[in-house]
């Protein structure tokens, strides 16, 4: 397997790397260490720049006006875009644009007109409301939110937890139980305007990621029309699951950026910092940490690129994507942890980005399916369907 980037990919890598170092890092240096957004004027200037580069809306399919990148190129870009302080969860502060909610590409024409196209134009924001207080790792069985039909309308009651962006969203993709099946065959996806009576943002949920909060939602006798159903009734979980599988490769790739940057910092520090009469780099304990970092980074990179290349070849990549997500999220956490150890006291401070990456990477082992679920997915694939 050849993981060397093509000439075109190498050019893209260098362009993004230069953009991060020349445009993002200088602005970030003046921001609060937990900042999650740029000054609006800087944001607008940089969005204009990425549009000119032809990279705006990276994840938008080509037929909807996106650049039409393959998964490998997208993963290589994610590795570069995340190499700054806010890069793990907010690569380049969103100046490469979003893709809206991927599920909306499967919507009806009327739904696309109302939600997808305005989202792609940046006029509307959506949020994805799947996880509930009853659980998130096994959403098909954990969903307790119920919708029942009343004539041409559906009435939804229930709650959702750890939902990002619901307080700023114009619409939400809400998953509710509509059938008797206690598992995946009784769930329907609804597109709900957030100003619908009965839609409540109950509270802000603070997490380790102190630059960004999640929210808790409740739905009380919330009435939506039948036109709000996305896809088929009782087949909504397939829509949710599609997103969960598809996201794993860029999600894994994004973990690599902070790890690479942390390793660069650790190497630089080890070469210059002296203790007990020699540099840290001359001490075997530190050398081994740096080597272990390199092994973790390369292992994770290979897993990410293998999954991406299989996806690009149209081959089955479920196991590889799960492996990439698991390996990259866990490896990056270890790399940043070792980099902090090498830095000593300053590694614990907000003077450096390490402490932010350390906190945020801990979430990556749970977000988009925890490590244990990734192992479960791989075990099912390896052992066969009877072990479901």
């Amino acid at each position: 397997m050849d993981f060397r980037p093509t000439q075109e990919q190498q050019l893209i890598i260098e362009t993004v790397r230069r953009y991060v170092r020349e445009e993002i890092e200088p602005l970030e240096a003046g921001l609060d260490p937990d900042a999650g957004e740029l000054d609006p004027a800087d944001q607008a200037r940089l969005v204009a720049m990425t549009k000119q580069m032809g990279f705006y809306g990276l994840d938008i399919p080509e037929e909807f006006g996106g650049p039409g990148l393959d998964t490998t190129t997208r993963a290589l870009m994610a590795i570069e875009m995340s190499q700054h302080r806010a890069g793990l969860y907010n690569p380049c502060y969103g100046t490469f644009g979003g893709a809206g909610l991927a599920q909306l590409y499967e919507a009806t024409d009327a739904q696309k007109e109302r939600y997808l196209y305005p989202a792609l134009r940046g006029e509307k924001k959506g949020c994805f409301a799947l996880t509930e207080p009853s659980g998130g790792s096994d959403p098909a069985r954990a969903i307790k939110t119920r919708a029942h039909q009343d004539g041409d309308e559906w009435i939804i009651n229930g709650s959702k937890l750890y939902i990002s962006g619901a307080d700023k969203a114009d619409f939400a993709l809400v998953f509710a139980r509509t059938g008797d099946d206690p598992g995946r065959n009784g769930v329907t996806a609804f597109i709900v305007d957030t100003d619908t009576p009965g839609f409540h943002v109950e509270r802000v949920v603070h997490t380790l990621r102190s630059t960004h909060y999640a929210t808790e939602l409740s739905f009380t006798e919330m009435r939506v029309s039948h036109d709000s159903v996305l896809g088929e009734v009782n087949r909504g979980f397939a829509i949710a699951n599609d997103r969960l599988s598809r996201q794993r490769i860029p999600y894994a790739a994004g973990c690599l950026g902070p790890a690479i940057k942390a390793q660069e910092m650790a190497v630089e520090w080890a070469k210059n910092r002296e203790a007990f009469g020699s540099t840290l780099a001359e001490k075997q304990a530190v050398q081994w940490m740096i080597v272990d970092n390199e092994i973790d980074i390369r292992h994770a990179r290979w897993c990410v690129l293998e999954a991406a290349q299989r996806a690009d070849r149209g081959e089955r990549f479920r196991t590889e994507a799960a492996m990439a997500k698991l390996v990259a999220s866990e490896a990056a956490g270890r790399v940043v942890d070792r980099a902090m150890q090498i830095h000593g006291g300053i590694g614990m401070t907000k003077d450096l980005p390490l402490e932010r990456w350390y906190r945020e990477l801990r979430i990556r082992r749970v977000g988009e399916g925890p490590s244990e679920v990734q192992r479960l997915i791989m075990a099912r694939e390896i052992l066969g369907g009877s072990f479901k």
């Binding site: 609060d32 900042a35 109950e202 802000v204 603070h206 102190s210 630059t211």
Partner: protein
């Protein structure tokens, strides 16, 4: 007003208000956190955060507030989640009063809504 409050389970700063002056600010710990400035009529006129760029955390931020004289009393809360807690307090204020404090009008683009 009150019906909105019952629907929102977010909480404001629980620490009691105290007089805002240089001495009170100097007595504060230099930790990170959020704070609220109140005028002599009891209205909240500003909700601020003391983040990682403050030299001495809340102490620096409140010393500056004492000098600016935007209000007469203040309360504070230590937290490392100063950014999200600050946004939460502004959203809570908006949910209860229908607007953000008068000196936070430039921050509205960062806010969502509790409902």
């Amino acid at each position: 007003m009150s019906y909105r409050r019952t629907m929102v389970s977010a909480r404001g700063i629980s620490r009691p208000l105290q007089d805002l002056n240089a001495e009170a600010a100097r007595a504060l710990s230099a930790q990170l956190g959020v704070y609220e400035i109140v005028d002599d009529a009891g209205a909240t006129v500003f909700i601020g955060q003391a983040g990682g760029l403050e030299t001495f955390g809340l102490r620096s931020a409140l010393e500056r507030e004492a000098e600016a004289s935007r209000g007469v009393r203040f309360r504070y809360e230590f937290t490392h989640a100063y950014r999200t807690r600050w946004q939460e307090l502004l959203m809570l204020h908006h949910a209860i009063h229908g607007d953000v404090p008068v000196n936070n009008r430039d921050d509205t683009h960062l806010l969502g809504r509790l409902s």
